[in-house]
């Protein structure tokens, strides 16, 4: 069980800040973003892919730290359950 000191508060705040900044930029420049991200010429079709990766990287890390900080974890013995099921 995590005590309060071992919880990833620093990482939670850092990734949360980056994620919030990305979303703020997306909606602050909504019209320009939509105009660029729906262009079909050149390398523009790559923009949604790159953006999805960037948002996911920061937000995915943030949500991981978020559940860690709340103490929500996988059930002990999960590996054995998986192995057991896979053997059948």
């Amino acid at each position: 069980m995590n005590d309060d000191a071992s919880k990833p508060w620093g990482k939670l705040i850092a990734t949360g800040t980056v994620t919030a900044t990305l979303y703020a930029l997306l909606f602050a420049f909504e019209k320009d973003v939509m105009a660029s991200f729906t262009r079909t010429d050149g390398l523009y079709p790559l923009l949604p892919v790159v953006a999805a990766f960037a948002f996911s990287l920061s937000h995915g890390a943030f949500t991981g730290y978020f559940w860690d900080a709340l103490g929500v974890k996988a059930r002990p013995g999960a590996q054995q359950q998986s192995d057991n099921a896979g053997a059948l």
Partner: protein, 350 residues
């Protein structure tokens, strides 16, 4: 590019966040992309079928990557099986996206929405009933601890017994050995469906369980690898036609990444048949939700005379069914997790 994009209101944003969270929770739990609730959710806001599918694929592939990493830590992902299936799934995505664009070009937004909805109804009904029957049999036949022991389906045993020289592949995590001639069409069909309704998991997961003989835990986890590749290819394919609404995709991602990690953790608290039961229930409720809208789209295409009050009633009933599906999924998963946390901290091998 001639796609129509909606104006985002505060209500739309809040709706997308809630649907995203519950959709993510369900997707982390059952291993599909979760877009079978997110695509209809977007369409109920007035987003056209093709934009909803394209935007869901965009939000889906990074989410699938996160889910795959999480499930990989639990030892549930067969990476080799996932990549082999993904290779043919990518081809299926490319072909399916072409069909979708042709439907939209010839029949407009209503035609595209009708095509997506009809595909949902057929696939969800067939697969949902099959998975429900299997889950109920598992529940009835072994109520004790041995109920965790899954049996390989009869058809899967036959598939595993077919020896075709030069095509046999061994997948160590899934503990199966099958011919690539079975995985290739299964992957292609998974990709085809993913590009049509943004959900390939409804073919991929049952296919890996009932056709190849993988367990439900390994199949649902491995599907996340396939979903990642299909989502990446699908996003690129639709972005080349300007159909991806990045705002919708990232709002859905915002809510669903909270949900998917919780759902993935939830799989370690439940018995395997529970995953099947939740999957079946949600599939069937969403199928009803989509079926209610088919007369509405037929009316918009002038194939059916439908009074406006009737159309409004059908839209409302469809939306209510979808909300019910989300609520049922969330309640069962969260309830199982809360119940599981109160059990002794021992594996189910007792």
């Amino acid at each position: 590019m001639d796609a129509q994009f909606i104006e985002l209101t505060a209500g739309n944003v809040a709706f997308l966040l809630i649907v995203g969270f519950i959709g993510g929770l369900v997707s982390g739990f059952i291993g599909s992309g979760g877009a079978f609730v997110l695509t209809p959710g977007m369409m109920s806001m007035g987003v056209s079928g093709v934009v909803a599918v394209a935007s869901n694929l965009c939000h889906k592939f990074p989410k699938a990557l996160v889910g795959a990493r999480t499930r990989h830590k639990f030892g549930q992902v067969d990476v080799k099986l996932g990549l082999v299936m993904a290779a043919s799934a990518a081809a299926g995505v490319w072909v399916g996206a072409g069909v979708m664009e042709a439907v939209r070009r010839d029949y407009g937004e209503a035609g595209s929405s009708l095509y997506v909805s009809a595909a949902f109804v057929v696939v969800l009904t067939l697969v949902g009933l099959f998975v429900l029957r299997d889950a109920l049999q598992a529940m009835r036949s072994a109520p004790d601890a041995d109920s965790d022991r899954e049996t390989t389906h009869r058809f899967a045993r036959w598939v595993q017994s077919v020896e075709i020289p030069g095509t046999m592949m061994t997948f160590h995590v899934a503990k199966i050995r099958v011919s690539a001639l079975f995985t290739l069409p299964l992957g292609f069909a998974t990709g085809l469906l993913a590009s049509t309704i943004a959900v390939g998991g409804f073919i991929g997961v049952p296919g890996m369980i009932y056709l190849l003989g993988a367990t439900s835990l390994v199949a649902s986890a491995t599907e996340l690898v396939i979903a990642f590749v299909m989502g990446l290819f699908g996003t690129l394919r639709y972005a080349m036609s300007g159909y991806v609404d990045i705002r919708l995709a990232m709002l859905i991602l915002l809510g669903s990444l909270f949900g998917i990690q919780l759902g993935a953790i939830g799989t370690t608290y439940v018995r395997p048949y529970m995953i099947k039961l939740v999957t079946a229930m949600i599939m069937l409720i969403v199928a009803v939700s989509r079926a209610l809208l088919i007369p509405v789209y037929l009316g918009e295409l002038q194939f059916l005379g439908l009074a406006e009050p009737v159309a409004r009633l059908l839209k409302g009933a469809s939306f209510a069914c979808m909300v019910a599906a989300l609520a049922v999924g969330a309640l069962i998963i969260l309830g199982a997790m809360i119940g599981g946390r109160q059990l002794p901290k021992e594996p189910y091998t007792d």
